[in-house]
């Protein structure tokens, strides 16, 4: 494996980790909050809700395979 590929893998593990849904949830939370603010509405209430929803989704994804065992 080249040094670049190794670094890419390290970076992926460092930032994304076990489950990519958390990273996507964060992008969605910040993006939607920015859109709300841009539209002139209060955006503070949205990120915590999206964060908890993304955590719940990530946990569901992490445990759903166990049902089948």
């Amino acid at each position: 494996m080249t040094a670049l590929a190794s670094f890419g893998r390290f970076l992926y593990d460092f930032v994304i980790g076990d489950d990519w849904t958390a990273a996507v949830g964060v992008v969605v939370a910040v993006g939607l909050a920015a859109l709300l603010v841009h539209a002139g509405w209060a955006g503070w209430w949205l990120p915590p809700l999206v964060v908890v929803a993304s955590l719940s989704l990530s946990l569901w994804r992490g445990t759903r395979g166990i049902d089948a065992e």
Binding site: V15, I16, G17, D18, D19, A22, A23, G25, V26, V27, A29, V30, G31, A33, A34, V37, H38, A42, G43, W44, P47, P48, V51, V52, S54, L55, S56, S58, L59, G62, T63, I66, D67, E69
Partner: protein, 254 residues
């Protein structure tokens, strides 16, 4: 108020990483000798200091809003990763983190790596200690630099980290054993909550959000995430019991 949270977050996060690094260093040092191991620790510490010296000033020239979105987003991702693991462990779906198992594994690998003469450099010890301290230390450095620069108080964040590393090092070197009694999983849960709280606060601020009550919103966010994660632990624990799964036990993985 946020100064206390800043110190606490930096202290707890650094303590968790410190325990992990110390476990590796102790395992290699006890089983193969201390000279090369401590040289590895010193080299990694120097590399870390260089990273902080370069990163710290560089962050201050980036516009604060953009910095908050990126740094807050990264902290939020880290916080969610830690919370996810802590909730899975607390509910029995994932094995508990076991520093003693990691210590035994590292010591066995070190012992199997071949003998060295006492006077020559033991590159195995040096490399393992260097890698362990550098990787765990990078996370500490990232948290200190980002927390500190966002709150405009790098010295306080650094003080929290230094205090944590000092406590972990003193306790670890006194007992010369893995810090198995440190409630690391509970600490990771607390750190996950703090990273998620600060990450949400800064990322949203960077996106243009004004928090009601300003810094007081941090406490409300912390309470909200604590309550939500507690509910998730209860739900998953009940599901684990309903599935009649055996307890996950302990594991030496991260």
């Amino acid at each position: 108020m946020s100064g206390v949270l800043l110190f606490l977050a930096s202290f707890l996060a650094s303590a968790v990483e410190g325990v992990e690094a110390l476990t590796i260093v102790l395992a290699v040092g006890v089983s193969r000798g201390w000279r090369s191991t401590l040289l590895g620790v010193a080299a990694a510490s120097a590399a870390l200091a260089a990273v902080v010296l370069v990163l710290g000033p560089a962050l201050t020239v980036i516009p604060i809003r953009g910095l908050r979105v990126v740094v807050g987003g990264l902290l939020l991702v880290f916080g969610l990763q830690w919370l996810r693991k802590a909730i899975l462990r607390a509910s029995g779906f994932k094995a508990l983190h076991d520093e003693e198992a990691i210590y035994r594994r590292e010591a066995a690998q070190a012992a199997a790596a071949g003998e060295t003469s006492g006077a020559s450099m033991d590159w195995y010890s040096f490399t393992v200690a260097f890698k362990g301290v550098l990787l765990e230390g990078l996370e500490v450095a990232f948290i200190v630099v980002t927390f500190g620069s966002n709150q405009g108080n790098v010295p306080l964040a650094a003080a929290g980290a230094v205090a944590a590393i000092a406590v972990v090092a003193i306790v670890g070197l006194r007992v010369r054993a893995p810090l198995g009694r440190v409630p690391e999983n509970t600490m990771k849960y607390a750190v996950g909550l703090l990273l998620t709280t600060f990450g949400t606060f800064w990322a949203a601020e960077g996106a243009g959000v004004s928090w009601p009550g300003s810094d007081l919103a941090l406490l409300v966010l912390l309470a909200f995430y604590a309550a939500a994660s507690w509910i998730l632990v209860r739900l998953l624990t009940a599901r684990h019991a309903a599935l009649s799964l055996p307890a996950a036990g302990t594991a030496a993985g991260e």
